[in-house]
């Protein structure tokens, strides 16, 4: 049973308070959208969950184990994987080797042959099997995003954070990413999607977290969050068909 507990996470850089006591739980294979304006603290929160930076206050527990003071590789081994806002494939390593890295790092008692076969099935799913021996630098931006997702499949964590998975991606590849998210979620993984693509977020997520300048201002089902005046004011703005809402319209116009 997946259980991520985030309690009172606070992070400041000098005088800038980026996260102000963020608290939430993830129980089971949830599919969560994390949204908020630029500078809201989404990536900082991701970096804290992933172990890349340490919180000034607060705790993060994953399946009962405290992970907020662990190194990123230890967090990955504990079962939390992530992608990055700007794609970070290993450019001068082949596509297949990119996929071998997490599988070998996990240190599972799998043979090289089993790892290779798993990597090939991942590439087939991502429609990239013909590129397996190319260096990652030969891939398009969208294909590199797919490769990052493929690496997570090889890592096989229980919780996956996808930072802007749809940014700059061709519609055809976006379909593959949607399929990926649904398939991985169906396999029992919890997924947090950070994105500014509202259509994708609302169609995929079953729960939304909204960050606004370090505060978690909303946490609930997308339909509820969409109507939350605080969220409308802070981030979403008024819908096109809801121009009568003076408060929301004012927010968008401002």
């Amino acid at each position: 049973m997946i259980n991520l507990t985030v309690r009172g996470v606070h992070k400041h850089f000098g005088g800038l308070h980026v996260l102000k006591g963020v608290t939430f739980d993830i129980k089971g294979p949830e599919l969560i959208g994390l949204i908020g304006p630029n500078g809201a603290g989404k990536t900082t929160l991701t970096n804290i969950l992933d172990g890349a930076i340490k919180p000034n206050q607060g705790t993060v527990y994953l399946d009962g184990e405290r992970i907020d003071q662990l190194q990123p590789y230890e967090v990955a081994l504990a079962g939390l994987g992530r992608t990055f806002q700007v794609t970070r494939s290993f450019r001068r390593i082949t596509v297949l080797e990119n996929l071998y890295v997490p599988a070998l790092a996990m240190g599972r008692p799998e043979s090289r042959k089993a790892i290779h076969e798993k990597a090939m099935s991942v590439l087939e799913f991502l429609t990239m099997d013909h590129l397996r021996n190319e260096f990652a630098q030969a891939l398009s931006g969208g294909q590199q995003k797919l490769l990052e997702l493929g690496r997570l499949l090889m890592l096989d964590p229980n919780i996956i954070i996808l930072d802007e998975p749809f940014a700059g991606v061709h519609p055809k590849l976006m379909e593959i990413i949607h399929d990926y998210i649904e398939r991985v979620n169906d396999e029992g993984k919890a997924i947090i999607i950070i994105s500014h693509q509202m259509d994708s977020i609302f169609s995929l997520s079953r729960r939304l977290l909204v960050l606004n300048y370090g505060d978690l201002i909303a946490d609930g089902p997308p339909d509820e969050v969409k109507r939350d005046p605080t969220v409308i004011e802070a981030y979403l703005g008024a819908e096109e068909d809801d121009r009568g809402g003076a408060q929301a319209k004012g927010t968008r116009d401002s």
Partner: protein, 403 residues
């Protein structure tokens, strides 16, 4: 078959150098042997530096410093430690079984050496009745290698958070501090005068009934050659292991590698330890071959030479870096002869370094992965592009047929 060409060529090169001392018999035999030994020495440094910088992306300029650690460790060990059956009662000494481990007092480079050296005074008093035993050279080399690894571990831990130019400057600083310290500690290291070392095979060597004298270059040739092969074998094994894959991932993106479960700290430190041990081992053997080690061997110029050899060979392929080092060492030696263009005499002893610099600049400008690595890549990866296209076309045909 095409993919096997580099392997076949590699075996041919190894066989060539294995039989070369027995088939070459020109008048300049000793000179050529000396160039070969020096070329093997630089090949170890260039290939190990290629693993550190080309594979792992840790641009260290301290490699010659680590070489110096190995050389000075064995030099100090062989210079200051002796085994004596009798206590000298003058030197610092410890009983080890039936013998005494004698530590000779440091005397620097003063003119009153004979009166200050406690062991020489004791030997004078014994008047030939007691014979002291110098430390085994092999043990000195092993200790030098281990000491190189210890320094590599310490520097590796210190530079964990440093990347790119900061790492380069830090390691450069380390090498310079080491050189300056050795130069300054005249009392112990003899400063610029250098420390003399016993020869690699001080008592000669007998192999299959043939006796080589201590000045014979063949035993040293094979000692350095086998050390090079051992280093290349370790580098080959590492590059094919998951550690090799992890360090390349580390080079590409340290944060992404860590996020995928790679213990980047361990990889970084380990690659420092392994490569610095190789540099230290090469330095120790070379110091015993030359017979003296001075701080000048640690000069930045020497480091630049190693970097240039690796870059011209191919920094991301340790075999290419090793071949590059051997070729460049020979070319630099061959370019020593002067020639005339009309009435102008070109003194190549000066101009060869200019040509060398131009070659380095052209390589960096037009062939970033060196001159030899692309040839190896042509044979090992030349087929990949065609394969990708044919698979793509086949997939599209299949999709077309299905529709």
């Amino acid at each position: 078959m095409k993919r096997q060409v580099p392997n076949i060529l590699g075996v041919v090169i190894v066989i060539f150098f294995a039989v070369f001392p027995f088939v070459y018999s020109a008048a300049d035999y000793d000179y050529i042997m000396h160039i070969c030994i020096t070329a093997f020495f630089y090949a170890i440094l260039a290939s190990s530096w290629s693993m550190l910088s080309g594979y792992a992306g840790q641009f260290s300029f301290g490699h010659m410093g680590f070489m110096g650690v190995g050389a000075y460790t064995t030099a100090l060990f062989c210079h200051y430690l002796y085994l004596s059956p009798e206590p000298t009662k003058l030197c610092t000494e410890f009983q080890v079984g039936n013998s005494y481990l004698v530590i000779v007092n440091p005397i620097g480079v003063t003119s009153t050496t004979l009166t200050q050296d406690c062991l020489r005074q004791a030997l004078g008093a014994w008047n030939g009745s007691v014979e002291v035993t110098p430390m085994p050279v092999l043990l000195g080399i092993v200790l030098g290698t281990i000491m190189g690894g210890i320094f590599g571990l310490l520097i590796g831990l210190l530079v964990l958070r440093l990347r790119a130019a900061y790492l380069a400057l830090f390691t450069l600083g380390f090498a310079e501090i080491l050189r300056a310290t050795i130069s300054a500690e005249i009392e112990i290291t003899r400063g610029q005068a250098g420390i003399e070392l016993p020869h690699l095979f001080e008592n000669g060597l007998t192999v299959f009934g043939h006796t080589f004298s201590k000045t014979d270059k063949v035993p040293t040739y094979f000692a350095m050659f086998f050390l090079l092969l051992a280093c290349l074998a370790i580098l080959f094994w590492l590059s094919r292991s998951k550690f090799g894959l992890f360090v390349r991932a580390l080079r590409e993106d340290q944060d992404a590698a860590a996020a995928l479960g790679v213990n980047t700290t361990r990889c970084k430190v380990l690659v420092f330890v392994v490569t610095t041990m190789m540099a230290a081992a090469a330095g120790a053997v070379q110091a015993h071959y030359i017979g003296i080690i001075t701080p000048n061997n640690l000069f930045l110029l020497q480091m630049s030479l190693v970097v240039a050899m690796a870059v011209i060979g191919g920094i991301e392929n340790f075999a290419a870096a090793a071949i590059g080092a051997i070729v460049i060492e020979f070319v630099l030696e061959m370019l020593r002869s002067s020639f005339e263009i009309g009435s102008v005499t070109v003194d190549m002893s000066i101009w060869r370094l200019v040509f060398f610099g131009i070659l380095l600049m052209l390589t960096l400008r037009f062939s970033r992965n060196g001159l030899i690595a692309p040839v190896i890549l042509y044979f090992t990866r030349g087929h990949v592009g065609k394969e990708t296209v044919s698979k793509r076309v086949a997939a599209m045909d299949e999709a077309g047929a299905a529709q």
